[in-house]
C-alpha cells in the first residue's frame, strides 16, 4: 500500500509526489445500466497513470467523471485535498484539468494557431472594451500568450502548419494539435482519451515520445485511457485495469501483467 503523502520512485529514477486527485467509491449509472461500479484509485503528482480495459469496460465513462462531464451518483472526487462538488465542465477546466478526446474535438473552422490559443482562454482576462478597441490589456495579453503557444508549437514540431485550418489536416496531426491545445492550458492534470487510437506504428511511436517528453519537460501529471496494452505498459508508471465497470487490477505495469484477473479479462477465460 502506498503512502498518501509520500511519493515513490519509478524504475527510471523519477520521483513521484503525493496524491493529486483521488476517486473514492465512484458509481455511475445511466438509467438502469451501471457503467462504473464502486471504483477507487488515486493519481499522484508527476506520474503517468493509465486506465486500461477491454471495450465497454467503462474507461471513457471514468475519464468523463474525472473531467467533470458526468456526475457520478455515488462516491467522491477529491482534487488537491478538496472534495470536488458537482461542477460545470468549464469550471473543472478552470481548476486545471485539460483533456483530449478519442474522436478529436478540435474546432474545424479555426486555424491551428487559434485552436491552440483557445487552450489559454482562461488565462486571458482583458475586458470587452479593451478587446473591442484592441488597446492595452487585450493586445498585450494576446502577444504574451502567443509566445507561450509558440513554445508548445515548437515542442510538438508543428510550426509549418500554424496557419492551416484544422479541418484540412490529416488524422495524426490533428491528434497532435489537440494535445497542443490541452498543453497550452498548462494543466495540473492532462487527460488523454485513447491518444493512440487509429494510429499506425510510426505515429504511435511519435505520440508516445511526445507524452513522455511532456511529462519529463513540464512535469505534467498525465492520466490516459487506452486499450493497446503494449503501449500503455511501456509508458505508464501505474495502471488501473477495468472490466465490466469494476476495477480488477491496480499497480505498476509488472504487477498488473502478473494479475490473474487481468490476464483472464484480456485473454478470455473459460466460464464454467
Amino acid at each position: 500500500m502506498l503512502d498518501k503523502t509520500e511519493g515513490y520512485s519509478t524504475a527510471d529514477g523519477r520521483q513521484i509526489g503525493g496524491v493529486l486527485m483521488e476517486m473514492k467509491n465512484i458509481t455511475l449509472r445511466f438509467g438502469g445500466v451501471v457503467a462504473i461500479k464502486d471504483i477507487s484509485f488515486d493519481i499522484r503528482q508527476g506520474e503517468i497513470r493509465a486506465i486500461i480495459g477491454p471495450n465497454g469496460a467503462g474507461k471513457s465513462s471514468m475519464l468523463n467523471v474525472i473531467s467533470g462531464f458526468y456526475h457520478p451518483q455515488e462516491g467522491e472526487v477529491w482534487f488537491k485535498g478538496y472534495r470536488r462538488g458537482p461542477m460545470k465542465p468549464y469550471e473543472v477546466a478552470r481548476l486545471g484539468i485539460a483533456r483530449t478526446f478519442q474522436n478529436i474535438a478540435l474546432f474545424d473552422g479555426m486555424s491551428v494557431l487559434d485552436n491552440i490559443m483557445t487552450g489559454r482562454l482562461n488565462r486571458m482576462k482583458s475586458g470587452l472594451l479593451s478587446q473591442a478597441l484592441w488597446w492595452g490589456a487585450a493586445e498585450r495579453e494576446e502577444n504574451e500568450n502567443r509566445e507561450q503557444v509558440e513554445k508548445i508549437i515548437d515542442f510538438l514540431e508543428i510550426q509549418n502548419i500554424r496557419k492551416t485550418p484544422v479541418g484540412r489536416l490529416p488524422y495524426g496531426l490533428k491528434k497532435r494539435v489537440e494535445l497542443a491545445r490541452a498543453l497550452a492550458a498548462e494543466p495540473q492534470i492532462l487527460l488523454l482519451d485513447e491518444p493512440m487510437a487509429g494510429m499506425n506504428v510510426e505515429e504511435k511511436e511519435d505520440m508516445s515520445r511526445f507524452i513522455l517528453d511532456v511529462n519529463d519537460e513540464f512535469g505534467t501529471t498525465i492520466a490516459l485511457i487506452e486499450h493497446d496494452m503494449g503501449v500503455v505498459m511501456d509508458l505508464s508508471d501505474r495502471v488501473v485495469v477495468m472490466d465490466y465497470g469494476r476495477k480488477i487490477g491496480d499497480g505498476n505495469p509488472d504487477e498488473v501483467r502478473r494479475n490473474q484477473d487481468v490476464i483472464d479479462a484480456y485473454l478470455g477465460v473459460a466460464h464454467d
Binding site: 473531467s67 462531464f69 460545470k88 465542465p89 468549464y90 473543472v92 477546466a93 478552470r94 485539460a98 483533456r99 478526446f101 474535438a105 478540435l106 474546432f107 474545424d108 473552422g109 479555426m110 487559434d114 490559443m117 483557445t118 487552450g119 482562454l121 482562461n122 486571458m124 482583458s126 470587452l128 478587446q131 473591442a132 478597441l133 484592441w134 487585450a138 493586445e139 495579453e141 494576446e142 502577444n143 502567443r146 509566445e147 509558440e150 491545445r181 490541452a182 492550458a185
Partner: protein, 358 residues
C-alpha cells in the same frame, strides 16, 4: 511580384497578427478608405446616396451584426428585423424625448437598448440549439413587431401609427429629416460603419472571438476546455444586437425618415440580412460587406435592366428579382457554402502563386 508575402518577414507577433498581413492588401485598404472619406462625399448625389451607398452602409452594419452571431458564434437568428425595429423605435423615443442631446449618443444608446433586448431573447439559446433556436428567434421577430404596432407609447400616439424622424444636426449639418443632404447622410453612416467594422474585427480576432468560434465549431468541447457557454452565447447576442440596433436606428432616422414597423422591419428584413451573410460568407468581416453590397446593388441593377432598358412592368421585375435571389441563394449554397469571401480568398491564393502554380 504583385501579390507576395515572400520577403515580407514578420519579426514580432504583433506584426504577424495584423489585419492585412500582405502589403498589397494594406494599400488596397488605405486607398478604399481615402476614396470613401476623401472623394465620394464630394461627388455623391441623391440618387446614388439613396439607391446604393446609404443602404449599403447601413445593411453592412446589420450584416456584420448578424455575422457575429451566426457566422462566428454559430447561433442562427431569424429575428434581425425585430431587433432592427428595437433600434429604430429606441432612437425615435430618445430623439423625441431628449431633443438637445446629440443624435450620435442616441444612436449608440439605441444600440445598447437593442443589446439588452437581444440578450433577453438570446436566453433560450442556452437550452436549445440549431433549428429550434432559429425558430425560437422568430418569436422575437413576431412579438417585437406586434409590440411596436400595438402599444401607442412607442410611436408617440401618432395618428398614422408611423414614426417620423425629426431634424437633427451634427456640426451644423442636418443628418436626419427632409433637409439632410446626400453627403451628410452618407458620411454619418460611413463613420459608423468604419468604427463598427474595426470593433468587429478586433472582437473576432481576440479572446472573445475564439470563444464564439469554439462554441460554433463544437460546443461540448468548448465547454470542456473552459468556455462558459452562458457568457459566450449571451455576449454574442449582445454584441450582435448592438450592431443590428444601430443599423435599425440609422435605417429609420437617416435613410427612411419615416417608418411603419410591419413594413420596414418585417420578417423579410430578417431574411434579407441573413442572405447577405450567407452570400457574403459566414464568419467573415469582408463577407458582410460583400454580401450587403451584392444584395443592395442587385435589385438596382435588375430594375435598371428590366424596367429601364427592356421596359417591363415593375411588378413583373420584382417577381423575377425574387426568383433570381432565391436561385442565387440555392446556387451559392451548392457551389460555395462559404460565400463571396471564400471566392475572394481563393482568387487571392491563386494570385499569390501566379504565374507558377506548382
Amino acid at each position: 511580384m504583385l501579390y507576395r508575402e515572400a520577403g515580407d518577414f514578420k519579426t514580432t507577433y504583433r506584426d504577424d497578427g495584423q489585419t492585412f498581413p500582405i502589403r498589397l492588401d494594406r494599400w488596397g485598404y488605405y486607398v478604399t478608405l481615402a476614396v470613401a472619406f476623401g472623394i465620394i462625399p464630394f461627388v455623391i448625389n441623391d440618387y446614388w446616396a439613396s439607391a446604393v451607398f446609404v443602404p449599403f452602409l447601413i445593411y453592412a452594419i446589420a450584416a456584420l451584426g448578424l455575422n457575429i452571431l451566426t457566422g462566428y458564434a454559430g447561433q442562427v437568428s431569424l429575428g434581425t428585423g425585430g431587433f432592427m425595429a428595437v433600434g429604430a423605435y429606441a432612437v425615435y423615443k430618445l430623439m423625441t424625448a431628449f431633443p438637445d442631446i446629440s443624435i450620435v449618443i442616441h444612436i449608440l444608446l439605441a444600440g445598447g437598448i437593442t443589446a439588452m433586448v437581444g440578450v433577453l431573447f438570446g436566453l433560450p439559446s442556452l437550452r436549445i440549439k440549431g433549428f429550434y433556436l432559429a425558430v425560437a428567434t422568430l418569436a422575437a421577430q413576431f412579438f417585437l413587431v406586434w409590440l411596436f404596432n400595438k402599444v401607442p407609447w412607442f410611436y408617440n400616439y401618432s395618428a398614422s401609427g408611423q414614426i417620423t424622424a425629426p431634424e437633427r444636426t451634427i456640426l451644423g449639418q442636418a443628418v436626419t429629416g427632409p433637409a439632410s443632404t446626400a453627403s451628410a447622410k452618407y458620411l454619418i453612416c460611413l463613420v459608423f460603419v468604419f468604427a463598427l467594422a474595426w470593433i468587429a474585427r478586433n472582437l473576432t480576432r481576440g479572446t472573445l472571438g475564439r470563444k464564439w468560434m469554439a462554441i460554433r465549431d463544437m460546443d461540448i468541447a468548448a465547454e470542456i476546455i473552459g468556455v462558459n457557454p452562458l457568457t459566450a452565447k449571451l455576449s454574442a447576442f449582445a454584441v450582435s444586437s448592438f450592431f443590428i440596433g444601430i443599423a435599425g436606428a440609422l435605417l429609420f432616422a437617416v435613410y427612411l425618415g419615416a417608418a411603419e414597423v410591419g413594413e420596414a422591419f418585417g420578417i423579410n428584413k430578417s431574411f434579407l440580412v441573413l442572405f447577405m451573410v450567407i452570400i457574403g460568407g459566414l464568419g467573415s468581416i469582408f463577407g458582410s460587406f460583400a454580401g450587403a453590397a451584392f444584395m443592395v446593388m442587385m435589385p438596382v441593377f435588375l430594375k435598371n435592366v428590366l424596367v429601364g432598358s427592356l421596359g417591363w412592368p415593375t411588378d413583373l421585375a420584382a417577381h423575377i428579382e425574387l426568383m433570381i435571389v432565391g436561385a442565387l441563394i440555392v446556387m451559392f449554397l451548392i457551389v460555395e457554402p462559404h460565400g463571396l469571401a471564400r471566392l475572394w480568398s481563393l482568387t487571392k491564393e491563386k494570385l499569390r502563386l501566379w504565374p507558377f502554380p506548382h
